[in-house]
Amino acid sequence: LRLQSVDEGHRLLAKIKLAFIGLSAGDRAPDILRLLLYRPELFGKSFMQYVNRALRGESEWSVGERELFAAYISKLNRCEFCLGSHYAVAAKVMGAEVVEQALDDWRKAELRDEVQGALGLLETLTPNPSSIGMASIEAAEAKGLSRGAIEEVIHICAMFCTINALADSLGFRVPAASTFARMAGPLLKHGYAM
């Protein structure tokens, strides 16, 4: 990490958590946790409540679909860390082949219409938020998305545009794909609550 205090300046309890997670993962605890556990009242605590609600709370989307949205936003923002992490979780639930197809060209992927509609919305909202208008919403609705489902997608976009920017500007180390795959199980089981 580019900021040494975020890398290793944690309070004692956080240091113990990071050491334990590192031992469990068989690798250094990921940089995302170092950020979230450093001065958690500043960002980590509230952000993870938001993320856990969006990715694991009640939803019109499956967990795998929401993880796919997170991976797709991260791909559009070219954030290697978040793409690797959420690809691994989505692939564990939905299967690697369909997730790869979706990230490569969602129009040709074998996805239900609603998921295609969500990915279409994200394709515009992520890189160019001010160009979103009624037409984008109506296109999503035409694919079967309800108002609530669209609102969920918008929130997922907001939170991943936030964390993608932090991952890159703080210089998160990108673990091997095998490490992401190993972390996917616990993320599915326990979610993102801190």
């Binding site: 900021l3 609102e151 964390i163």
Partner: protein
């Protein structure tokens, strides 16, 4: 506890924490960074209140975060905690831009 809290409330809590949590930068500075990052991604005019390394970092993270480096803020003479607060302020501005534009479009479509 958070599972059933409304998403809007949780999003607002993130912004509130990043803007107002005690730290090494003034709330006014964090607000200006957040607003300028948001304006940059919206392709509207930045406030012009930021200068030097903070202005450059804010523009970079909003344009392509891979070109932004929080360490440069420290090299410009601010503390690591202040640099983190600047990075977080910019990042929540980027999220807020997506949230506001998305929800506004949804409201327009509802009318």
């Amino acid at each position: 506890v958070s599972k059933d809290r409304p998403r809007d409330e949780l999003a607002a809590a993130v912004i509130e924490a990043v803007m107002n949590c005690p730290g090494e930068t003034e709330t006014d500075t964090r607000q200006a960074v957040r607003a300028d990052a948001k304006a940059t991604v919206e392709r509207s005019e930045a406030s012009g209140t930021l200068t030097g390394a903070i202005a450059e970092f804010t523009a970079a993270i909003a344009t392509d975060a891979r070109t932004a480096n929080a360490q440069v803020l420290v090299e410009s003479g601010i503390s690591e905690d202040a640099a983190l607060e600047i990075a977080l302020s910019a990042a929540v501005g980027l999220g807020q831009a997506r949230l506001e534009h998305g929800l506004r479009a949804l409201e327009e479509a509802d009318r």
